[in-house]
């Protein structure tokens, strides 16, 4: 494998890791506050749909992003109401969100666009364009660093940079602010937080809404940046991979970045090297495509060690018994 191929592979990994990263951080906020969320997938999907349709109708990608985030927040709120206010089972509510999104996107888009559950192709103004960072062109000729800067770091959509910036932001918010301390405490021992005079319900709703915002960005990235329009089921299981990455990362932001990049890399490897020959035997495509999942099991079982979820995760908080 030469240097150019390596750059290409990493570049592809970054693109594929971005939606995972956003969804993974979304799950991190929610689960750190004690609300398990397997509805990430559904929220990504609903946002992908609304951002694509609004971006198509208005021709403005930012309005599309806004609509996507808003729709994802509505779904997050639904999950919040079911699992915080009414103390329902969080897993079931999450599954319901996934099904609702899968069905609703197709039905609504069919009635709006009559294209069988897809939106029309987006024009240029309806998509996030790739940004060329300053000096990328000038530095292109510099050996090693030039291609890294020009091909790998520069030339992604703004949402990619946003996603990567959210990682340190999340770290700072969780570990260096009063809000973060309370958020983590709510997930570990809500009774203690309550005793300190802080509303558990409010903290949890805040976390769930942040989760909605991040999932919304992930969905918008899928439909208005990576591709040009919504296709049914286009999230293709990325919300679930993000959950796996979250467990991988032991619910920590920097580890989440690493885990998502790893999954992105594996995914990119699967696409880029479909016909590898190893020791004279050609490796079947199926194996390459299953590789990310096989490695998930191997790494999870052998290397990550014990992943301990937030102690109060999945438990609705009851003030007095």
């Amino acid at each position: 494998m030469d240097f150019a191929t390596l750059i290409q592979l990493l570049d592809s990994s970054i693109r594929l890791a971005t939606p995972l990263l956003l969804a993974c951080l979304a799950g991190l906020y929610s689960e750190r506050a004690g609300i398990f969320d397997i509805g990430l997938e559904g929220k990504i999907l609903i946002s992908a749909f609304f951002s694509a349709s609004v971006a198509f109708t208005t021709g403005n990608v930012w309005l599309g992003l806004l609509a996507g985030v808003a729709s994802s927040m509505v779904f997050a709120l639904l999950h919040g109401v079911a699992s915080i206010t009414f103390r329902g089972n969080q897993l079931i509510s999450g599954v319901a969100i996934n099904f609702l999104a899968a069905g609703m996107t197709v039905v609504v888009s069919d009635s709006w666009f009559s294209l069988g559950g897809r939106t029309p192709q987006l024009e240029t103004s309806g998509r996030f364009q790739n940004i060329t960072l300053p000096f990328a062109e000038q530095l292109q000729g510099v050996p090693i660093l030039g291609p890294i800067y020009h091909d790998l770091i520069s030339g992604h959509s703004i949402l990619v940079y946003a996603a990567f910036l959210i990682v340190p932001l999340t770290w700072w918010l969780l570990y260096r602010t009063r809000f973060g301390l309370r958020l983590r405490a709510v997930g570990e021992n809500p009774a203690a937080v309550d005793t300190a005079g802080i509303s558990v319900v409010r903290m949890r709703f805040t976390a769930v809404l942040i989760c909605g915002v991040l999932c919304g960005i992930a969905g918008a990235y899928l439909s208005t940046s990576l591709s040009a329009g919504f296709v049914r089921e286009m999230s293709a299981g990325r919300g679930f991979i993000a959950l796996a990455a979250l467990i991988f990362a032991k619910w920590r932001p920097w580890y989440a970045l690493m885990a998502c990049l790893l999954f992105g890399l594996l995914d990119a490897t699967g696409s880029l090297f479909q016909n590898i020959r190893l020791l004279g035997v050609s490796v079947p495509v199926q194996f390459m495509q299953a590789l990310p999942y096989i490695l998930t099991v191997v790494i999870l079982a052998g290397f990550v060690g014990k992943a301990i979820p937030p102690r109060a995760g999945g438990e609705p908080y009851v003030k007095e018994r």
């Binding site: 150019a4 191929t5 290409q8 592809s12 693109r15 594929l16 009559s114 294209l115 069988g116 559950g117 897809r118 192709q121 899928l222 990576l226 591709s227 040009a228 329009g229 296709v231 049914r232 089921e233 286009m234 293709a236 299981g237 990119a268 696409s271 880029l272 479909q274 016909n275 495509v285 199926q286 495509q289």
Partner: protein
């Protein structure tokens, strides 16, 4: 005993409705949905053309999941629809179970083969059509490297890929052909993001023409091809208009003709058995319209049309992947 009575009663009632009702034709679309800009949409267009010309009406079912197949077929057959057209190879195994239960209903399956006395199996010579667009790709490519993105990894799609590769090699024996499949599950038909990623990978390896035979995933391929400034080739329906100036041509598969044929032939005259739609029957071909007129030169047309005539005459034989699961060129 009562059970038997009910059973016979139902059968009798069914027989009456089946013969009594004026038989409307029916069509079952596969999972991609009837507006997939590709295979199902072509089938839908054929049905619509028939409805427009005759003023008749037809029943349709759009499948939402694999589990509905058998149920949908039975429902239409029991409602007296005749003939029942099934678009898509995935329906073959369900049809093999259902067809013997409704001997008076004629079924037409497109892209699949079911051996039953009341089934017409329509298959297309995709390898021949792919050969032609492969030639165009080879002629249009400047780098000598062309790509192929398939949907789900099944023999049918390999047939596209293999015919394409042979066509490319026919005009450029030195050409490099990069073949990728999107996945191994039906989700591979609807993953434009992955399709785009595969295309970028192929572009990075030097490809400047990419042929997508991947349903909804293909839309991502065509989009990325335009973003990256290379040429692409659409499939099934004419997809030239999606990105004018970037889509070199489309490998047409006249599913619409097959559906139209089935609908307009009187039911008792539909010949069952296997029907092959090849180049000679105009069942497959390449699309030429105002959207790609600037991309294809007179010389290219002349070469491809000569090959077309030669294939029909039997002078060129395009290897069919599904016959032996092998492809002579890589």
């Amino acid at each position: 005993m009562t059970l038997f009575k009910t059973f016979y009663g139902t059968v009798a009632a069914l027989a009456i409705t089946a013969t009594g009702a004026l038989a409307d034709p029916a069509i079952i679309f596969d999972l991609g949905g009837k507006f997939d800009r590709s295979f199902n949409e072509a089938a839908f267009n054929g049905a619509e053309q028939w409805a427009e010309e005759t003023g008749g009406s037809y029943r349709e079912i759009e499948l939402q999941s694999d589990a509905q197949r058998e149920q949908a077929m039975r429902r239409l057959a029991e409602a007296g629809a005749n003939p029942v057209v099934m678009a898509g190879f995935s329906q073959a195994s369900s049809l093999a179970v259902v067809a013997p239960d409704y001997p008076d209903t004629t079924f037409v399956i497109i892209d699949g083969v079911v051996d039953a006395p009341n089934v017409r199996s329509v298959i297309f010579s995709e390898h021949e059509g792919s050969y032609l667009v492969g030639m165009l790709a080879g002629l249009a490519s400047e780098t000598g490297t062309v790509g192929f993105v398939g949907g789900m990894d099944i023999p049918l799609i390999s047939r596209f890929g293999c015919g394409y590769a042979q066509g490319v090699r026919a005009v450029n024996p030195e050409a490099t052909i990069i073949q990728n499949m999107t996945g191994t599950t039906p989700a591979a038909w609807n993953d434009p993001v992955r399709g785009g990623e595969l295309t970028r990978a192929q572009v990075a390896q030097g490809a400047d023409v990419v042929f997508a035979a991947a349903g909804g995933t293909g839309l991502g391929v065509l989009q990325t091809a335009e973003d990256e400034g290379i040429l692409s080739i659409g499939v099934d329906s004419n997809q030239n208009y999606l990105h004018p100036g970037s889509v070199l041509t489309s490998m047409l598969k006249r599913v619409d003709v097959a559906v139209y044929d089935a609908f307009s032939t009187p039911v008792d005259e539909i010949e069952t058995g296997i029907h092959v739609f090849g180049l000679a029957e105009d069942g497959v071909g390449y699309a030429l319209d105002e959207h790609n007129a600037d991309l294809i030169t007179e010389d290219m047309i002349a070469q491809v049309d000569a090959a077309r005539a030669a294939i029909i005459a039997g002078e060129i034989s395009v290897h069919n992947y599904t016959e032996d699961g092998m492809c002579p060129v890589e």
